[in-house]
Symmetry: C2
Subunit: 322 residues, 2 copies
């Protein structure tokens, strides 16, 4: 862990040392040394988050690092990978209180235990800007089994895990635009990476990704990578009980839920004959899965069939303006 | 490469796609898939850099990414590792011009070719703060051969590569505090990772690290990790010709050169009998190496012997205030 930082930040090393993974050399050397799991391929992803952009300035320190870690774990889940370790760089404004850093590290410690991984290295820097975090995650898969975005074929069913739109609503709750709802707030701050489901989908799903930028936009990525048209039923998109109640009161919300971000659910394609096996794996993983539509031959495009049966194309590049 | 970014930044994907390493899945999937080099250990490090803190706001876009990549390559050099690939997250202010991003990527492309590695993945985000970059690098070593900080023993000689203090002087030049000098400016903006030398030191050096936070501070880290006292001769610290001329004009500069940062030279310890082999390896690597002192039994501490032969202890925690 390179320490190009003012003296006040050397305490970060104290807070992070208990998080160190095997091979991290106690986070005190130039780099970590890792023996890759024998006979496995590595899966790697990196994400950054900025205060005021990807999380709220007044989010609790305990959840901020966990949200970033979980968004990366969600990328591993989408590839059908098992978590191994991570590296983290932390940019903090000068004068960040010791208690904030302790809480930030304590949150990460909880998730490390829950998801079975540790920190291999990183860097702490001061910034005149807002809190800025960047995390690189490593996972592993059996060779050739990683789920990717490009394998969907016409006739495949389109599935999602869990419920869609809670992250969008949770943000609105935390910004005071909707009444307080602890479930929705928690879904925004602490997404649930679907790791067990992702592992269960290996050999069953033909394509997969995680929904982080909104269901329609991300489904558009699957269409482009696979060269298919996707047709989904808006009414089939699974909503949580709090989301269902809010849509009942304001039906215009439904389209916001399928374009909003921060879901961190899995979106995947599988042939119809795999359906019962997928439901069995989801049951084992303790996650609901729902068919929301089907891929068809055609140009990469997403078509949404609304509650009245009217087809509404979501044009290329315009997913987020549906 | 997760793309949680405003539409204006999707062009980054275009600029970065040509940089993609094998296994990166064209930077369009949730994560990259990498087959680790068989029979090797992985070496991993991460560093962040912030505009106005680690580089100058008006540094050319071409050199900014390269400086970060080279500082990470320097960490690999210090471990005796061979570069493999990297992941990069880029935080940019809204409205960053396309030309800036193109130049940034073009600089990285040059260094990827020079150092033989490609980008596996990453993320691009917008930030209300200054440009904020984070890079995770992967390298590899033969099992058990990574150089670390903890192996120095009493009697070992202390060596550095290249010249010390040029980064400090280059910053002063670019800030207008010293007359323009292209060599020194270049040393600040484009450090030279000593990869070939690092490889050559495997089996010869007992401990190594790179000098990024200033020679005295980093030597203090070696002392603590190895449990030894270091004694160095200030006059033995190698200076470049421009640095020598500046010290001749202002002798007080000498101590600033050994406490300033951004050297990215290798600092290492080796038994005296390894000296001629080290000089041979350095010759092959095309890098000068210089003995600057010796480790002794005793508490972790750095003692500087000045030109008059007076010993000046650099106290614990106070390296940067020597």
């Amino acid at each position: 862990m390179a320490m190009t930082l003012p003296a006040e930040f050397s305490l970060i090393a104290r807070h992070f040392a208990p998080l160190a993974a095997p091979g991290s050399l106690g986070l005190t050397d130039d780099a970590a040394v890792l023996t890759p799991p024998p006979g496995r391929e590595l899966v790697l992803a990196a994400d950054a988050m900025v205060a005021g952009v990807h999380f709220l300035l007044d989010d609790p320190a305990e959840t901020i690092g966990r949200k970033l870690l979980r968004s990366n774990l969600s990328d591993l889940a989408a590839m059908g990978a098992t978590p191994l370790a991570y590296l983290l760089t932390v940019g903090l404004p000068r004068g960040t209180p010791d208690a904030w850093i302790a809480a930030f590290a304590a949150g990460l410690a909880l998730d490390q235990q829950e998801f079975g991984l540790g920190v291999l290295g990183g860097d702490t820097v001061s910034t005149p800007g807002p809190i800025h975090l960047s995390l690189t995650i490593l996972g592993h898969v059996a060779p050739g089994t990683a789920l990717t975005r490009g394998g969907a074929r016409p006739g495949d069913e389109i599935w999602v895990s869990g419920s869609i739109g809670d992250g969008y609503l949770g943000l609105a709750v935390l910004q005071g635009r909707l009444p307080m709802d602890a479930y929705l707030a928690d879904r925004y701050r602490l997404p649930q990476p679907r790791l067990a489901l992702g592992l269960g989908l290996v050999g069953l799903a033909r394509a997969a990704m995680d929904v982080s930028d909104g269901l329609l936009q991300d489904l558009g990525h699957l269409c482009r990578a696979s060269g298919c048209t996707a047709r989904i039923e808006a009414a089939a998109v699974p909503l949580s009980a709090p989301a269902t109640a809010l849509v009942a009161a304001d039906v215009s919300l439904r389209q916001k839920l399928i374009t909003g971000g921060d879901d961190y659910e899995l979106l995947f394609a599988a042939p119809p004959e795999a359906g019962s096996a997928i439901e069995a794996r989801a049951l084992e993983a303790g996650v609901a899965v729902t068919r929301i539509g089907r891929f068809a031959a055609g140009e990469p495009a997403v078509v949404v069939v609304d509650a009245a049966g009217v087809e509404r194309p979501a044009g290329p590049g315009g997913w987020s303006h549906f």
